[in-house]
């Protein structure tokens, strides 16, 4: 260790350069790990901390005493608790006001939410616990006052997280919790509140399906029963972060590969440079083991502080964005201890990687005969010398390709990093299209009008309107798999005039009793053409449809069903439907909107699936931007490091060029040639990798139920290639500047030794 330390002190500049490279790689790793681990484990962490129930059953108001007997007889039941949920309650705090408040009146027993600030509601009147999204959005905390509908002002005593839904304002509703005991003090005329929710905790979570099955059988007689399982909740919530997690995992792998290749290349180059010195050591009797140990110790000494700094900064940079996404999903971030453990593990890995990368070439070199080592080492002569056409740029390309294996590795790594950037760009444009362009979801109508169905003819008669029809929409759950939520969409006629997701199997529906189902729903319920789709609408009895087609719908993760409205209206006669308005090609949308307004409608532009989630999209986009910038830095680092290694190894060649009169312009051309020799094939690799591997894999991973257009466009490919060339120019400019400051004789002396 003393020898290793002395070796580093003898060349502090070189050690600092190596350390900077390690710190950059570790920074990338820190960002990737922090985001990936945080998002991948967010739901489980929140579910565990909140003690999320295995099954949630909703039904019309009942006396809890009537339901309790049935619940107690359920097998595999560990605990249960009743709730009374009241929707559309007005919440007010200062200038903030929301008509979509949801009040949960909680009695005794387990809660199913985690109190993350303050305390839970007690038996006293006038206390409320609010969900974290509302607390953050309205800047409320324990001690503040919130007006809760008819219950009036209540003191906020705690802030809670329950991962059974995304947070306000990503969800349009905001949830608050009041205690039954407190409300009974406030409204003493009632003896007890009814219940319309029961939370069931399984004794054995692995066998929660048994509990669900018996619960369904026991629900006979209760009206409007719907079940939602913990797994169903997970699938709903995790879809939102699936793409980001998949991207970040891919990115983390690339970051590790990059760090490994570059660190190994740096170590190899350093050993090559010191071959003669190693030869002297070996001639003096130093064993190969001792030589290897010193190299490994030097690597570890440089890597330990550099990796710690890089991982720490990367972790801190990514923590804010990750926490914001988790908060929007109503999930909890890992604690400082968990994050530190992950980063500490990564630190150990990086230090081991660097030490190993330094030790391996040293071990190989030290086992060679000392006489060979004393002759020193340079780049192996090429099999065929070139004629020297192409000037400095071509010469630069020849210098960087002299080490074929490393050249291939750098091209591959840079190509992978650029492919991730391409994927991020494609994802960003997809998010924009999902947000702004309903056609991405297969929607062909662009406006809705709040008018009754019998006024559709008036709307159709407006100039610029191609078609108009009532669009019925209802949330439901699958009756055969009660944890599966879905959205039912119905048009009186041909729905493909207004919505036409691609048909994956079967045919289009032709009449009442038939249904086209999304691939996501088909996968969840095992449906195919010819199967029966049994659903339970929000407040109706079970409805059955024959599946005639499967469509690749993106909306609601493919958990949709297209039907004719007859059966829906029979079950729920009060179901309202705005008019979907499809415009003629090239029609003036503003003029149509004005005409609709004159008819007394409230025309609304149709967004994508995420039309109401602009805040969440902004957070997600911010996180993606952070990742993209980090990947861009990785590309720049890979280029600079690759050039630095080439220059370090070919110092003599560069010095001879300078002695022959090469000025900074010539050096820039030389290095630009070297850099372009790396970035041009890397750009080709990136485009091919994104198109053939990453985009299809990510699309499958994120949305196997739909055709997710994640392939990069020509413009994006050109932009990334241009950016790579720009980075090449930047890297070569910087390297040429550094090189020109170094005395020519330094390179000559080093080569001459």
């Amino acid at each position: 260790m003393r020898n290793a330390w002395a070796g580093l002190r003898a060349r502090p500049g070189r050690a600092a350069l190596t350390g900077a490279g390690i710190a950059a790689a570790a920074l990338v790793l820190g960002v990737a790990l922090t985001v990936a681990v945080g998002l991948a484990t967010g739901f489980d962490r929140a579910a565990t901390q909140a003690d999320l129930p295995s099954v949630v059953a909703r039904f019309d108001e009942e006396d809890p005493r009537d339901v309790a007997d049935r619940v107690r007889r359920l097998p595999n039941l560990a605990a249960h608790s009743f709730r009374y949920e009241v929707t559309r309650v007005e919440l007010r705090a200062g200038a903030n006001r929301l008509g979509e408040g949801v009040v949960h009146v909680v009695g005794g027993g387990r809660r199913g939410y985690a109190v993350v600030a303050g305390r839970d509601v007690g038996d006293a009147a006038g206390e409320v616990v609010i969900e974290q999204g509302l607390a953050r959005e309205w800047d409320l905390g324990p001690g503040d006052t919130l007006d809760v509908g008819e219950a009036g002002p209540a003191e906020v005593v705690g802030v809670a997280v329950a991962p059974d839904n995304v947070a306000f304002p990503l969800a349009r509703t905001a949830r608050v919790y009041l205690s039954e005991a407190g409300l009974l003090q406030q409204f003493p005329e009632g003896s007890r509140f009814p219940a319309n929710l029961v939370l069931l905790w399984a004794a054995d979570e692995e066998r929660a399906d048994v509990l669900l099955s018996f619960a369904r059988q026991s629900a006979y007689g209760l009206s409007s029963v719907r079940f939602l399982t913990r797994e169903g909740l997970r699938s709903l919530v995790e879809q939102a972060s699936g793409i980001v997690v998949a991207l970040l995992v891919a990115f983390a792998i690339i970051a590790c590969a990059l760090a490994g290749v570059l660190l190994a290349a740096g170590a190899h180059s350093e050993i090559q440079r010191r071959l003669a010195q190693l030869g002297v050591q070996r001639a003096l009797g130093v064993t190969p083991g001792a030589v290897t140990a010193v190299a490994a110790a030097q690597g570890a000494l440089v890597a330990a502080p550099a990796a710690a700094a890089g991982l720490l900064v990367g972790g801190l940079l990514a923590a804010g964005g990750t926490d914001a996404v988790l908060a929007a999903l109503n999930e909890l971030p890992p604690g400082p201890g968990a994050r530190a453990t992950v980063l500490a593990g990564a630190w150990g890995g990086v230090v081991a990687l660097v030490a190993g990368s330094a030790a391996w070439p040293a071990w190989r070199a030290a086992r060679r005969p000392p006489a060979g080592l004393l002759r020193g080492g340079d780049v192996s002569p090429p099999r065929k010398a070139a004629r020297g056409r192409g000037g400095m740029t071509a010469l630069g390309a020849r210098l960087v390709t002299a080490h074929r294996a490393r050249y291939a590795a750098v091209v591959a790594v840079l190509g992978m990093a650029a492919a991730v950037v391409l994927l991020l760009l494609a994802l960003a444009s997809l998010l924009e299209r999902l947000r702004d362009d309903p056609a991405t979801l297969g929607k062909r109508y662009s406006l809705t009008a709040a008018l009754p169905a019998d006024r559709a003819d008036e709307v159709r008669a407006l100039p610029g309107v191609a078609a108009a029809a009532p669009r019925y929409e209802q949330r439901a759950t699958g009756a055969s798999a009660l944890g599966s939520p879905l959205r039912v969409i119905a048009y009186p006629g041909d729905h493909t005039i207004f919505e036409a997701p691609a048909l994956a199997a079967g045919r289009r529906l032709a009449g009442p009793g038939e249904a086209e189902v999304g691939q996501g729903l088909a996968d969840a319920l095992g449906l195919r053409p010819g199967s029966t789709l049994a659903i339970q609408p929000g407040d109706g009895e079970e409805l059955r449809f024959r599946v005639v087609g499967v469509v690749r719908a993106l909306q609601d993760e493919g958990r949709v069903a297209y039907v004719r409205p007859d059966r829906l209206l029979a079950a729920s006669p009060s179901l309202e439907a705005p008019l979907a308005v499809r415009l003629d090609d090239g029609a003036d949308a503003a003029a149509v909107r004005a005409a609709l307004a004159r008819l007394g409608a409230e025309p609304r532009a149709v967004g994508g699936a995420t039309g109401d989630d602009r805040g969440f999209l902004a957070v997600l986009a911010g996180l993606l931007r952070l990742v993209a910038v980090t990947v861009g830095l990785v590309c720049l680092y890979a280029l600079v490091q690759s050039l630095a290694l080439t220059v370090r190894e070919r110092r003599g060649a560069v010095a001879v060029l300078r002695a022959a009169g090469a000025d900074h312009r010539a050096l820039r051309r030389l290095l630009f040639g070297a850099a372009t020799a790396v970035v041009i094939p890397a750009a080709v690799v990136a485009v091919a990798l994104e198109e053939v591997v990453l985009a299809p894999a990510t699309a499958r991973l994120a949305a196997g139920y739909a055709d997710l257009p994640l392939g990069a466009g020509l413009g994006q490919a050109v932009a990334v290639s241009g950016a790579l060339l720009g980075l090449a120019a930047l890297a070569s400019w910087e390297m040429a500047r550094r090189l020109a400051r170094e005395p020519v004789v330094t390179g000559l002396r080093e080569t001459g030794r």
């Binding site: 022959a660 009169g661 000025d663 010539a666 005395p743």
Partner: protein
């Protein structure tokens, strides 16, 4: 000034000082060294190992900067010049020949010779001159071989052709035959002599007696100062910095 004017010195250096190391470990390699070389003259610099011969040559060629003193090549000041100006000076006025040849392994012999001709701002006649040099130096048959396929003598001849391709008025050679066998060494010395006879100033650092034999003047570097020896190695006749 016409660099090929035999009466005018192509190279002038005065009172060069250069120290290596710092503090108590500092050592003056050059301590007031002065010399000159005229067109058509081959000057050999001798001195014991570590006396600073190579350092002096590098300072003369603008590859290193002195702590004090000045150097002029073909009437142009080297010391104090910007890196850009120094590059141009090396491109047009100075040719270097190194002990270890320093041919680029990726390029064949001819491409190594033509390397200075590919630099931005190079003389347009350089490529033709390079081809002619390869022929004149008897290297045509091996022009397309890689450096590692060449003998030491052939490599040094290619290196010499590379130094001459820009037709510079000054050639600086650092131990040009230090790595060659006797026969190859003689060939290279003859070529250097020819280069001087064609009107160039050639300054050669060497520790080999056969190299001093072809020189017009022999200078000795001792204790950081340059003194001129009589042909045959007698006592110094005059100190170089007394010369014009």
């Amino acid at each position: 000034m016409d660099p090929r004017d035999a009466s005018a010195p192509v190279l002038l250096a005065s009172n060069l000082v250069k120290a290596h190391g710092t503090g108590r470990g500092a050592r003056r390699i050059l301590d007031g060294a002065s010399l000159h070389a005229r067109a058509g003259e081959l000057v050999a610099i001798v001195g014991r190992s570590g006396s600073g011969k190579s350092t002096l040559l590098q300072i003369l060629g603008g590859l290193d900067r002195p702590d004090d003193g000045w150097v002029e090549v073909a009437g142009e000041r080297v010391t104090g010049a910007s890196e850009r100006r120094l590059s141009a000076l090396r491109r047009h006025r100075i040719g270097f020949v190194f002990q270890f040849f320093h041919l680029l392994p990726e390029l064949d012999g001819l491409a190594n010779v033509l390397l200075p001709a590919t630099l931005p701002g190079a003389d347009r006649a350089a490529p033709a001159r390079g081809m002619e040099l390869v022929e004149r130096l008897g290297l045509s048959d091996v022009a397309h071989l890689a450096p590692h396929q060449l003998s030491g003598g052939e490599q040094q001849r290619f290196a010499l052709a590379r130094a001459l391709v820009a037709d510079p008025p000054l050639i600086l050679a650092d131990e040009p035959i230090g790595n060659l066998d006797a026969a190859s060494g003689q060939t290279v010395l003859r070529l250097l002599r020819d280069a001087a006879d064609q009107g160039r100033a050639v300054v050669m650092v060497t520790h080999q007696a056969e190299a001093t034999a072809v020189a017009d003047r022999v200078l000795r570097l001792d204790d950081g100062r340059v003194t001129e020896l009589q042909p045959g190695g007698g006592e110094p006749l005059e100190t170089a910095h007394d010369a014009p």
